[in-house]
């Protein structure tokens, strides 16, 4: 596993990681988790892509995520590319896992 640190001037190893995330909320990947997803993704340096039904979407853009009409029981594949890719995917997995409000 590449070493990562925050010391300026030291070359950071880029990681490209992919993870399949399950959509478990009865309302699917609705607007609230989409907004949380975009906001969390925006906190990381890594590029974030979401793959769904054969198409690619920019995970940092709410306008792109609005097109991901993933229903409960489906999965979206997330890809992070950058020095904090693994942390990004962990954080994004948490967004979906924690989406369990009964209201929209």
């Amino acid at each position: 596993m590449p070493r990562r640190n925050n010391v300026p001037g030291i070359l950071l190893m880029n990681a490209l990681v992919r993870k399949k995330l399950q959509v478990t909320h009865p309302m699917g990947f609705h607007m609230r988790p989409k907004a949380a997803f975009a906001e969390v993704a925006g906190q990381f340096q890594a590029e974030i892509m979401v793959y769904w039904e054969g198409r690619a979407f920019n995970g940092k853009r709410m306008w792109d995520l609005m097109l991901v009409a993933a229903a409960m029981g489906s999965e979206i594949e997330c890809e992070a590319n950058g020095p904090d890719a693994e942390q990004a995917l962990d954080a994004l997995a948490a967004v979906l896992a924690l989406d369990h409000d009964t209201d929209s």
Partner: protein
């Protein structure tokens, strides 16, 4: 759910004047009552549900567009309407900009797929800033209707 399948043509508002989010939402729900798609007795409850959803996070997604919505027991199928606020109004948008186009969506509790598809189709149509500009410049309800309901691909 394509726009033409759920937008109530008679409830479109081309010149919304609202002082607040709550005013705007009540005006939109009120229009649906006016054309008989929502019962007057349900209007208050629906408006409250939409405001409650707003309190969890603004539905203004940037680019001058907001998509206030709620599920409600009184609707059997997803319905919606659109209001254009030509002068713009504050909607706590993440980009800090005013909202010019509001798309209200009320869905039944048991059709989550319809709701997701409606969000998808609304976003697909309104991501085009030139299209939003055309909506903003609509001078009458008919023009708004033609733009929203007449230009979708099958």
């Amino acid at each position: 759910m394509r726009l033409s399948e759920f937008l109530v043509e008679g409830a479109l508002i081309h010149d919304l004047k609202a002082a607040s989010k709550e005013d705007a939402i009540r005006a939109l729900v009120g229009k649906l009552v006016e054309v008989g798609r929502v019962l007057e007795k349900d209007a208050e409850d629906i408006s409250r549900a939409i405001m409650k959803r707003e309190s969890l996070g603004s539905t203004a997604i940037g680019g001058g567009v907001a998509i206030p919505h709620a599920r409600h027991v009184s609707v059997q199928s997803l319905i919606g309407t659109v209001a254009v606020c030509p002068g713009g109004m504050p909607f706590e948008s993440k980009d800090g900009k005013p909202v010019y186009v509001l798309v209200l969506i009320i869905s039944p509790h048991d059709r989550p797929g319809d709701h997701l598809r409606a969000l998808e189709n609304v976003s697909s149509a309104l991501r085009d800033t030139k299209f939003v500009e055309l909506l903003r410049n609509s001078e009458e309800q008919n023009q708004l209707a033609r733009l929203l309901l007449g230009t979708e691909s099958p």
